[in-house]
Structure formats: structure tokens, C-alpha cells
Symmetry: D2
Subunit: 410 residues, 4 copies
């Protein structure tokens, strides 16, 4: 048995199949993928990686299974899935996932290919485990898939606490020890045992507060959008040797080095390295945005960008339109026991609806540009997109608008 | 200047009037008043006192004032108020406040008498401060009274973090450093500066989650109700030498010793010492309780108790009826800047309404009794109080009902 | 199984005999005995109790035994001993132990009487455990006694971390998770496994730094000496109803209330309550103290006090002579594996000798008195005790002398 | 003013020259240099960077100066030096410093060139500061140079706490708040004020325990030696375009990408990426190593390696000889006030000598090789180096030998 020291869970013991999986290149690669991508440009301490997170998820899965009385091959399948659940991530984690999905059709949790072939598959089979079944667990399928990927998964429990620890933002500090111990199965559904409505709510609230403060902080969104644009240029450059599959298999070092050395992307790369970021030219609330735009496909978004650039008479690379999807709140289906019945949290807790409403009020469409073009591009974008002008032009309202205090907000 | 080491804020520097106030008996007495009263019967580490909390509030007040650019005598008045804001507490802090209020007409923040006379008044006057003005600040009056006692006061910021630290329940872990730095005055109203809607919500949520988990944990409520009953017996005992004013001036040691030695209270005292607590015979939701009962005055409640005891044919001391007030949420009036306007949080954030609704769903009327009489008293109480029977008798539903996992819940 | 939330170890699970022992008056009483006695007069957050410490020791014992592969009745005996190891403590923990030992012949770990009779004995026997064997374990006897009370016991591992957490002084923050996991038995001796010399040293160093900063802080020593003097007066008062056995069975509340109400002790009690402490009139290094004094018996020390008082013409109660024992360092016999051999740490690590020397240089004889008599009593004491005058009179040298920065040092 | 959230110091406020320096490429580059180089291969959470450390050092310098009453241009020079003190670091911080020093003659704190020219120099001059004077402070020169680089510098105070936070090893958790507040100048020498002998010792002990556990952990040493070898091959490869100056200016991404793509280094790179590390073939104590070897110059060491490889008949790249310098302990000259005199800690505290002795007993010469050649190379190396055979061949003694428990030790 190995013991690994972790800054969040202290000592993590690694045994069985996990011990052997640890030495595979696929798992070691996660050391070089930052958990939060460009968020470290906002919170400088947030340099933690998918590797330590994967160890943490493995650790919590072991605790949960021990409490549930699950062991043997059943448990080993889940242990493997917990440790491997993020091997499908590309560089900068979620930052480029939309891009690679468009080109490859695969999200990061589609890991069948990665688990069946190669070293990982060999290790799994050596331990008498079925790679396909492990991949299904990673995809959230089956009874125990809920523990790896679902509303009450240990993935979320680890990342909230870990992101809080490394950013310094306390909102994610949930009581994971309690949550893990209170899991139970009722009719094959993973639920929180009686008396845990507040514990379920605390998980929901932690996400709801971490989201605008950390994950969707405006500077994180801007830098992510710039990285995404750079990666897209890389894939589309003439004579490029990088396709989406190659990109997906890179680690952070590969991607950064490639962006630096490619002519099509070196300027974005320089800006990211020097934190010479674009700024918000437009920052529009959901009610000010015409209906079709939120649902626009990627190509339509690109077309808007080109149109804004043309009308404003600037280089198309100076305009980035960032349209988040419509807010969703999957936790509403979290199941909790109340008075002996399984209830959905959305039924039980008025918080679910309120947090959904809060998400709507926090939603923003952004148009980003080099600082010196902010005004011109902002005005043009309002016209082109047909935004309700009130309150959407950042240059016209107070600069502090919806920013969080810390972290270099411009 | 003195420096004091605090487990929450690390080093606290004490200077000026605060340094001299520290040595007064009124402030030193706070070392012997537990911050959370009987909560330590649920969370064994929660033995922190009003003294360390008062130091913490003083510390945060100093930081806030420095950031607001306030100094001189203005600041010294606030420093004094912060350090003195809890000198009016009786033993076990809030646990007996309703009782002493009924008899003395004073809540703990009515400190005029304590500040004007005696050592404290002398120290204040020696520093050229006005005791009456300090007392007004403690009562939340005036511009800076909002900082000492109001929706955005530093009192709350300290106790949430401190109670989280000492109970081990993380929900109270707010970002007090940020909150303190983001305070501002707009037209004499204390507000959170632009971009702090989530920060304001986090404060609200922290209270909303700490409340059922810590402050109103069922075992904390039961033990508090037993203590309150014992104290009432003490005051009402024939030949007692203890009146409400004397009680109010006791510290925890005095009260415990007195309860132990008085015949009228020694049994309650034994039960509290040995944690041989009453248990819930009834635990009824707000919709199951006839309207009048929630608003019943203390004497009416006592009359219900006597009636239940008579009908169940048990000693009246075996029945405790615990009816919390109707939920309120003062934070709804917290003021935050949004797009350059001062808005009330209740206007801005859907969370406020949701948390209010959650409070309603968490509200419970309790009837407590010795374990062996639970069933008999429970049934009788349902009849006497006219409760909607469904789900109110603890003995008939799952025992885990609304309990939190940890902490000796019976 | 119960789960208890602890501010140090988070969730502690209580099962088997421990669960039933928890409800005994002897264990519940520990809630009312402060872990560090008067240290809270220096570090205001240090209000933790023997109860939470006992839970922590039980928790670490469970972890150690599970790692060592020990279970069944063997383990249950140790679990019981861990939870019960401090039931023999009197009020204020170690503060009065020398006094009660002189009168009763029992130290706090002599618990045979407490464990065999009464509720505790009944619970042990109900679980088919032998009270005598549990008491032996508490006294450090036998193979597993080393785990409860010895150089590598879990008692020390808990209190160092817990005292650091509650005082805010980080020196005690050892890696208890590692220490517990690295324990092993070699020929019935408890040792630290290969590769843990630094871990063993860290335990030693933690104690060596916590000692002068916390446990023997000058203000803690002064207040402890005052408490001890008051307790002795209480026992010796004419018409007192308190003997040493009664004293030993009190909790903190009892003792404080008794000291307040007894004429012989009310002045000391007032001083402790108001933190109107004596101050150092003399503070002498070991080399400045004539040999015989360090080894003087209690009566000889009292005689010195009376002589100083007479010569200085002050009330005898104004002079307290505080002579610590000669430094010892039991950890020197800690056993660690090095290159396959069991070695004593004192053999292996040069730190042991150095820390012993440091203890000698930190040793101080103190004479304490009311502030206004400090000068007169200091000079007289130097004469009476035959101290080498250089550097021993506090009033003549810099006041900061050997104090730690924080904490009200006078 | 900007506020940045830091996981160690919470909120760090950046003002004046520091605010403008933050945006220079030289400072932003530090985001991409890991603080502890390859230590993350042992402690997976240790991914923190020189950037956040530099912010922390700046923060502590601000606090220390404020306490010392220093402001104005004097303070601004020190603020700049604190923020810039690490801009001279090459990729992987200290890991390659010996190599680049041999080729460039510059250590990382020789920053005159970097500060005078370019953006940094411009910013400094814009703020009316002298770049040369800032560079002198970084080099530890002058009165305030002691605060930036000396026995009591804020650099050390930050990195100990930060490394503890990110590795999870608690030994570095010093009381930096106290140390910073207790600094004073006596005759232009930086000292710790009266009563801080233990505080000074705690700093010493923290380093002494972090060193073997973290900084010189055997796996950290092996991976660092492999990286150093790879970098040397890179510089010496025929047709290479990388010289030592170029290498020094790279960030971690550059170096990793270059090592991957160069034929001469791709195998080392693969091994580091996959954590397929060399293992210890020899691990010899200082007394077993012939005198001359410890002082051997780099070329002599390389010659030994070649000789071992030749005798063992293996590829020269399979042998790495790692000879640490003779232990030193600069803290022995730390100055503390004792009884009104300035004393050197080495004079005052027996711990200094003991820790020096401990360093000697921890010193190890290592010979590293691919696992399958371990035995053959180990035996040959013993012969070639003339080691006293006893206990130096890792393959012949217990594998646990001197390892720390955690962290993948092989």
C-alpha cells in the first residue's frame, strides 16, 4: 500500500488496482493539467491539478463504499473509475471542451477508447476488471455510476473543497465528511439519509456561490475565451499539424508551447502569458439579449463576431463574443430522505428555485476586445446583436459592475 | 499596545481605550460566559466564550474603521462599543434572555446602566469618551451603530466564523476579510460596495445553514429549554435569594453552582451535568400547529404544560413546551450597491425569499419529556394543543426525523 | 454507532464500549474540566476540555489499533482506556495535581478506584471487559499501555494538535496522521517504523516549543500558583468541609464557586476572576539558585515564603514561591527503527540532548507578589533564598525579559 | 489599490510601485515557475509558483516595514525588492541553479541586469526608484537587504508556511505573524526583540524538519538530478540552439517542451513525465564517503559517473552521481535580544549545534540508475568511489531505509 500526502485530505492510501493505475502514463499526465485552467489568472494560488483531484475523488469513493459496505470486485471497479474519471480531459480541463467536442464528438467523460486500449486497459484486466464497465461508471451509468458522476457524486465533493482550499475563497468548504457518510441506496438510487436536507442544500449553495466568484469570474471567462479562440485558430491554421484529437491528448505544457510557436496563435499566447487580457466591451443581462442569440450555434456566433469586426472596422481577431448556455441546475434532482420518503431536493427545498433564479440574474453575455478598442467595439456590438442598450455597455456604467472585489478585475 | 493571540484572527492588537477596558471586571467576566450556551452538549468543542468573541468583534471593527478612514474619538467610541457590546449578557448568553427580559425588561444590548456607572464608565471618561454614546452604539443607534449591531455588523462576521471554527461545522466560514473591506457609507447608510451581491448572499446563507445545524439543533433546544426551566424555578422558589437582576449578573459558574445547590433545581442540574436530557415527545411542523399557539404568551405556554401534565397524570416538571417565535429574516434589509444604486438584498436576491421559506419548513414546535414518559406525554400533548396529528409524534415516525447526523441525537 | 463532530479530528465515530462509557457521569464530568487550566488567562481561546481531548485520544487509539491489526476484546480494552484515561483529573487538570497528590497519594492516572466501582465499572463488565486491566492500561502498563501512556502515546499526539488549534500557537501542529500510522510493535515494544527519525524529532520539538510558549508561560505559571495557593488555603481553612478527596472530585464550576464563597479564598478568587494577578518579583535562572532549593519539599518552600514575608513585613499571602522541578525529557527513550535496529531517540538524535539543555536554560524560579509589593518582596526574596543577584530581580531588568510577545504579559 | 486573494495570507493588498510591477512580463513569468520544482512528484499538491510566493513576500515585507515605522521611498524600494526578489529564477527554480551558475556565473539573486533594463527598470524609474538599489536589496545588501535576504528575511517566513500549506507537511507552519511583528533594528542589524528565543528556534527547526521531509526527499533529489542531467545534455547537444542564458530565461513550459522535442533529452523527459524514475543504487552516509568526493568539482563527478558506467558496462546516461555539499546552517547567526544584549542564536541556543549535527547524520551521497541496473551499478559504484561498503548499497538493506513513509518512495 502506498500513502500519499494531500493538502486537502491529508493522507490518502492507495491500494489494489488504484496503485497500479497510478503508474500509467494516462494518470501521470493529469499532473500536468490544471484543475481550473485559466482561473489561476484570477486566483494566483489556484494551480492544483487533475491528478491531486483524482486522488481525492478516489479517496472519497473508498470512504463512501466502505460506509456502504461495498467491497470486492464491485468496489474495485468503482475505485478504478474514481481514479480514472478525468483521464479524458484535454489541456486546461474544461476550457477547451466545447471546441474539442464540436470536432471529435467526445466529452471528457467519454473514456471507452482510453480505458480499453493501452496500459490502462492492461492494468484493469490484470486485476480482473472490465474496462468497459469502468468506462460506464465514469459516464455515470448504473447504480454506482451515481457515486462517480451524478448529483451526489464524490467528484463534486472533492472539487468544491479543493478549489476553496487553493483559491482561498471559502464558499466551497462543504462538510464532505458528513456527506460521504450519509449516502445510502434506496431502490438503487443514491440518496442522502434522513436529516440531511441542510447538508444537501449546503452542496447546492457551495456551487452557487463558487460559480460567479470563481468558475465564471469575468476575468476567468475572458482568458478562457481567448484561449479557446487561440486553440481554434491553431486547429484551423493552414499547414497545421494539430487536429482536435491531438489537441485533446496534449497536456498544458504541450498546448502552451504550441500556441507560442505557431504564427497564428503567438499573439494570443503572448497576451495570456503577460496577462495583457482583452476587456469587456459589452456585459449584458439575459433580459437584454434577443432570444435567438442564446441558442445560437458556434458558427452563428463566429458570424456575429465577423460582422461586429467589419462594422467596427477592426481586425476580426479583436472581437470575441462569449455567450454562456442557458443556466441549468442539475442538483434539483438530488434525492434526500424526508420522513421516510425519497424526495427530490427541488421539491423539498425552496432554495433550488431561488438559486436557479439567481443564476438567471447572474448570467451575462460578454463581448471582449483589446482595451483600446473597447468603446468602438462595444457600441457596434450592441447594434449588431440588437441588445437592449440599457446597462450593457461596460464603458458607460460603473466599472465595478458585478465584479468581485479581488483579483485584478479590469 | 498589547497583542493577544486568537485562534480565529491570529494576532489581535489592543490599543487605546480598549486596552484599559480589557482590565475591567465587566469585560473579564465575559471569559466565563460561553458563547453558545448549551450547544457544547451537541458539539463538544464549542466551549468558546463571549470574551474571545468580543476581542474578535473589536478586531474587525478596527479593520473596518481603518478601511473607512475613520479615526480619532469617533473611532474610539466604536472601538469601545465593539469590545463592550456583550457585557450585558447573562450566564449562558442567549439561553436565558427571554426569561430575564420578562422580569427585568432589558435585553443584553441594553447596557446604559452597565456603561455609565462603575469601572467601565470611569475608563471611558478617562479616555474622554461618552458612556451614553457608547451604549447607543451597542444598541445599534446612529451611523456607526450599524457597524456594531445591524444587518452588516462585525458582530455577525465574527461569530459565524468563530462558531464554525469551534463546532467544526464549516457552514459559517464566510469571507470576513472581504466583507469588512467592502463596507461603505452611502447617505449615512452602511452598504456593501458594488459587486458584492454574492458576498451578501453568502452571509445570509451562512446563518441559514448554521441555524438548524448548530444554533437550533434539537438537542441544543432541549437542553436550553431545560436550563431555562431550571432558572425559572430558581427565581420562583420560595425563600430564594436570587432575583432576575442577580441572575443576569451571574457568570456560568455562579449559575451552575446555584442550580446544583438549590433544592428546586438540583434534578435539572443533575440531568444537564450528566447529559441525561429530556427527549422529544412531539415535534410538529408549523402547518400542524393551531394559529394561536405560536403567538401564545409565556403564561399561556406554562398553562398548556400544566394541562398536558395533568391530563397525562405526570409531574408538571416532566413537560416542557418549546414554541419558537415566527421566523424572521432581518438580513433582507441588508443594503448592497448594484449598478450604482443602493438596493435592499431582499429586492435583489431571490435567495432571501427562499431562505425565509426554508425557515418556515424548518420551524418545529417541541414537547420534551423524560424518555420513559415520551409516549404518554406526546399523545396527550397532541390532544391538548390540538395539533394535526400527522407526523408530529416523534415516537411514531422514524427517529432520524430532521436530526443532523452527528452529535448524540436521540 | 454515534458520530461526534470535533473541531480537530472532524468526525469521530464512537462504537462499542466507548458508546456506553460516554453516558457515564465520570466521562460527562470531563466536559467541565478545562484542558489547560489557567492557560486561558494567557490565550483566551484555550477553553477546550478534557472531554473533547478524551474523544480525540479514543479516536487516535482506534486508528492506531486498526493499523496494527488489533481488534476484539484486546482492542476494546484499549478503547476504554483511551476514553477513560483522564477521568482521574481534578478541577483545572494538572494545576492542582501536586497538591492533591501530597494529600491523597494519587496522581490523575491512578484510576483503579474510579474504574472498578460505580457506573464505569458496570459498563465495562457489561461489555465483558476487566476494569483492573483498563486501569493498568491507563497507568501505562503492559504492551498496549505504551499506546495510552508512554513516549509514543496517542494522548500526546492529540493534546499537542488540540492545544495548538485552540491557543493559536502553531508549534504543536504535528503530523499525527503519520505518527499514528507508523507505529509498530517490535518485541512488545512500541516503536516508530523505519524512516521516521524526523517524525520522532518533530514530536519532541513540538513539546519543547509549546512548553515555554504555552504550558509554562509566565502568566500561566503565576495564575496556576495563585490557584494552588487558594486551594491549599481552602483545604486548610478551619471549619472547612472540603478535603483533598472532595477537591479532587470537583469540576471547575464547583471549585470556582467554592473559592468564591469561602472567606479564606475569596480574595484569590477575586484576583483570578478579574485577572488582577500577582507579578514576578524574582525570576531566576537555574544557575543562580542554590542547589538545595530546587529539591526543597513543599513544607520547606512554604517556610521560605513565610520567612520572606516576615522579613519584608508583609502578609504571608502576598508571597508565592514557585520552584519547578528539575527538567526531564522522557522522550529521549522513544524508540525508532533505524537500519533495521530499534534505537532510542536519545542515542540517535542530537536534538534530544540539545532540547534538554534548552530546558535548563529556560528553567526559572519565580517569586510572585501583588504588583505594589514587587520591589520590596523581590529584594527580600533574593536575600532569603541566597540567589545570585544578577538578573533575577524582574524589577531591575527589562520587563520584556523572557516573556513571549503576546498575551498580557506584565 | 488591488486586492489579491491568496490561499496562505488571504487578502493581499497591492499598491504603489508593486501594482505597476505586477503587470511586467518579468513578474508575470513567475506564474509559470513552480516554487518547488520536481517536489510535486513526491507531494502532488505542491504546484504553487514563484508568483504567489513573491506576492506573499511582498505582503510580509509591507507588514514588517509598517511595524518598523518605515515608509516613503525607503519602503517603496524594499517593496519592489520583495516583489522582484525571484525574477532571476530559471525554470524549476533551484533545480537547475548549479548548472546555470557554472555556465553564466550568476545565481538567481543576481538581478542587476534584469532590473535595470526593460519594463521593470522603466516602472521603477517611473516611481522614482533606483533599480540598482533594488537589485542590491535583492542581493541582501544594506540595512534593509537583511529583510529581503538574510537569516530573518520574510522570504523564508513565506516559503516555510506556503510549502507546508501546499505539501500538507505541517513542519513549516511557523508563527510568521509573530516573527514579522518582533523584528527590530539594533545598530543597523536586524534582530528579534526580547523574548523571542523560542520564536527564533522555531524558524530554525521548521527548516531543519522540512529539509529532509520535503526539499531533500530522496525522490525529489532523484528527479531533480535527472532533470539537471537532461538540461546539461540539452546545452551540450551538437547543433543545439539553447545556451545557458536562454535556458535561464525559459519558464517551466518552455523547458519541458524543449526537453520533449530534443532527441538528446526525450528519454529523460519521458521518464519524468511518466514518473518512471531512476532508483537509488547507492545511498551512503557521510562517514562512509572518502573525503575528496564531497568536495569534488562537477567535472570530477561526471568523470566518476563515466568510470562507473564503463566498469559496469552500461550506457553512461544510466548513472547519476548526486553529491550534496557539506551541510551548512546559516541561521546560526540569527540575532536575538536576550537580557538587553544582541546575541547570535548559535551562541544562545543549543539547538543550533544539534541541528547541524542532525544535518550531518541526514547527509547522503546517492547513485541513481534505472531500476533494472540498480544492483550492478550499485556494486560498481561502491568500488569506483571507494565507499565503506557497510550500509551504502540500497539493494542490500531494507528498502524503507531512511525514506519517509509517504509519497511513492521506491
Amino acid at each position: 500500500m502506498k500513502t500519499i500526502k494531500d493538502s486537502v485530505h491529508d493522507h490518502i492510501r492507495i491500494d489494489g488496482v488504484a496503485r497500479d493505475l497510478l503508474d500509467t502514463p494516462a494518470v501521470q499526465r493529469l499532473r500536468r493539467i490544471r484543475q481550473l485552467g485559466t482561473v489561476s489568472l484570477v486566483y494566483p494560488s489556484a494551480n492544483h491539478t487533475r491528478f491531486e483531484h483524482s486522488l481525492g475523488v478516489y479517496h472519497l469513493a473508498c470512504e463512501a463504499l466502505a460506509d456502504l459496505g461495498v467491497d470486492g470486485r464491485q468496489a474495485e471497479h468503482v475505485h478504478a473509475a474514481a481514479l480514472l474519471h478525468d483521464v479524458g480531459h484535454g489541456p486546461f480541463s474544461h476550457n477547451l471542451e466545447a471546441l474539442t467536442y464540436r470536432r471529435t464528438g467526445r466529452y471528457h467523460d467519454d473514456v471507452h477508447g482510453l480505458l480499453v486500449d493501452g496500459d490502462v486497459g492492461d492494468v484493469l484486466r490484470d486485476h480482473d476488471l472490465d474496462p468497459g464497465r469502468v468506462a460506464d461508471l465514469v459516464a455515470g451509468k448504473g447504480r454506482f455510476g451515481q457515486l462517480v458522476s451524478g448529483e451526489l457524486d464524490v467528484d463534486r465533493m472533492d472539487y468544491l473543497v479543493r478549489d476553496a482550499h487553493h483559491t482561498g475563497v471559502p464558499y466551497g468548504t462543504i462538510d464532505h465528511g458528513r456527506l460521504v457518510r450519509e449516502l445510502a441506496f434506496v431502490d438503487d438510487e443514491l440518496v442522502l439519509a434522513e436529516g440531511n436536507v441542510q447538508a444537501a442544500e449546503s452542496l447546492l449553495v457551495a456551487r452557487a456561490l463558487m460559480n460567479p466568484t470563481v468558475y465564471s469570474h469575468s476575468v476567468a471567462r475572458i482568458s478562457k475565451a481567448m484561449l479557446r479562440r487561440a486553440a481554434e485558430r491553431l486547429l484551423d491554421a493552414p499547414k497545421t499539424s494539430v487536429d482536435a484529437d491531438t489537441l485533446q491528448r496534449m497536456d498544458d505544457h504541450d498546448l502552451i508551447a504550441t500556441l507560442r510557436s505557431s504564427e497564428a496563435t503567438s499573439e494570443f499566447s503572448r497576451r495570456l502569458d503577460q496577462r495583457a487580457l482583452y476587456k469587456r466591451a459589452v456585459w449584458a443581462e439575459i433580459d437584454d439579449v434577443p432570444g435567438g442569440i442564446i441558442e445560437a450555434e458556434h458558427e452563428a456566433v463566429r458570424e456575429f463576431e465577423r460582422e461586429i469586426a467589419a462594422d467596427a472596422d477592426v481586425d476580426p481577431e479583436c472581437v470575441i463574443l462569449d455567450v454562456p448556455g442557458r443556466p441549468s441546475m442539475t442538483e434539483s434532482t438530488t434525492r434526500v430522505m424526508v420522513n421516510g420518503d425519497v424526495r427530490r431536493l427541488g421539491q423539498q427545498s425552496p432554495l433550488v428555485e431561488a438559486l436557479r433564479a439567481a443564476q438567471y440574474s447572474q448570467w451575462r453575455l460578454g463581448v471582449y476586445s483589446p482595451p483600446e478598442l473597447r468603446d468602438r467595439i462595444g457600441r457596434t456590438a450592441v447594434d449588431v446583436l440588437g441588445l437592449d442598450i440599457e446597462g450593457t455597455l461596460v464603458s458607460e456604467v460603473r466599472d465595478g459592475l458585478d465584479t468581485t472585489l479581488d483579483q485584478f478585475v479590469d
